[in-house]
Amino acid sequence: MHLILFFVFAGFCLAGAINLLVQSHPISSALSLIVVMTSLAVLYLMLGAEFLAAAQVIVYAGAIMVLFTVVVMLLNAGREARTLSSRAAWVVGFPAVATILAVIATVILHLQGMGVATLSNGSTSTITSTAEVGTVLFTKLLLPFEVTSVLILIAILGAVALARPGNGEGTAGK
């Protein structure tokens, strides 16, 4: 059962990610990224991270991607053009990325073969639960948690200051 779910949603993930690359219109890329993030939420659920699955749907597939689509529509972004440096990126980028992927895959398969870390699902009973995450988050990691809330506040203020009309033109134009 888990295997079927894994294949289905890993397939959705990969299809969405490849579609993100293939599409030339930003709104199509944004919609396929939503597919990727929602499928990842299902994979998190299978890995026993219920809280993160919910947060993934709410924060990533919800808030962040809404922000992206709103900006795409606001700026009226059209199709992108293939340029000279784009072709250069194809020529140089693909071997480099293939190398990165090969190295990571080798390490993972090596780990599995050596038995250093026996990468197997221990049992179906998931140990980590939402309650445990909350307990650690609000006792041992209370200070980092509060610091991130301050970070979010500063980021919101910075975003408002940056995106406000009449702010960028005078200085950025020169």
Binding site: L43, A89, F94, G122, I154, A159, G168, E169, A172
Partner: protein
């Protein structure tokens, strides 16, 4: 249901999926010429790393991996807000989203 589909998913498959997603994100960052789409590729890479964090959290039965993913999500939300504000500001100044034409700091 035969025995092949009844078995559990090996966690290394999740890691491989994470590696492939990360590589696709890198490819997207390299070949895309649109500022917003490049930014989306960065989000894809962050998600791929999150998946491997959750996988290792499951592997070691530790809650720390999940908490790290939580902090990554918070920082990603802040990053998306600031980054998109910068993109709006750049668009207002240059009237384009093509990265080839945003080359003021290029030699």
């Amino acid at each position: 249901m035969n025995s092949f589909f009844a078995q559990e998913v090996p966690l290394s498959w999740y890691l491989m999926l994470s590696a492939i997603l990360f590589s696709l994100g890198v490819v997207g960052f390299l070949i895309k010429r649109n500022l917003i789409t490049m930014f989306m590729s960065i989000e894809l890479m962050l998600n791929a790393v999150n998946l491997s964090f959750v996988t290792f959290a499951q592997q070691w039965h530790a809650v720390k991996g999940q908490i790290f993913v939580f902090f990554v999500m918070v920082v990603a939300a802040a990053e998306a807000a600031v980054g998109l504000a910068i993109i709006i500001s750049v668009f207002r100044a240059r009237a384009t989203l093509a990265v080839d034409r945003i080359d003021l700091m290029k030699l």
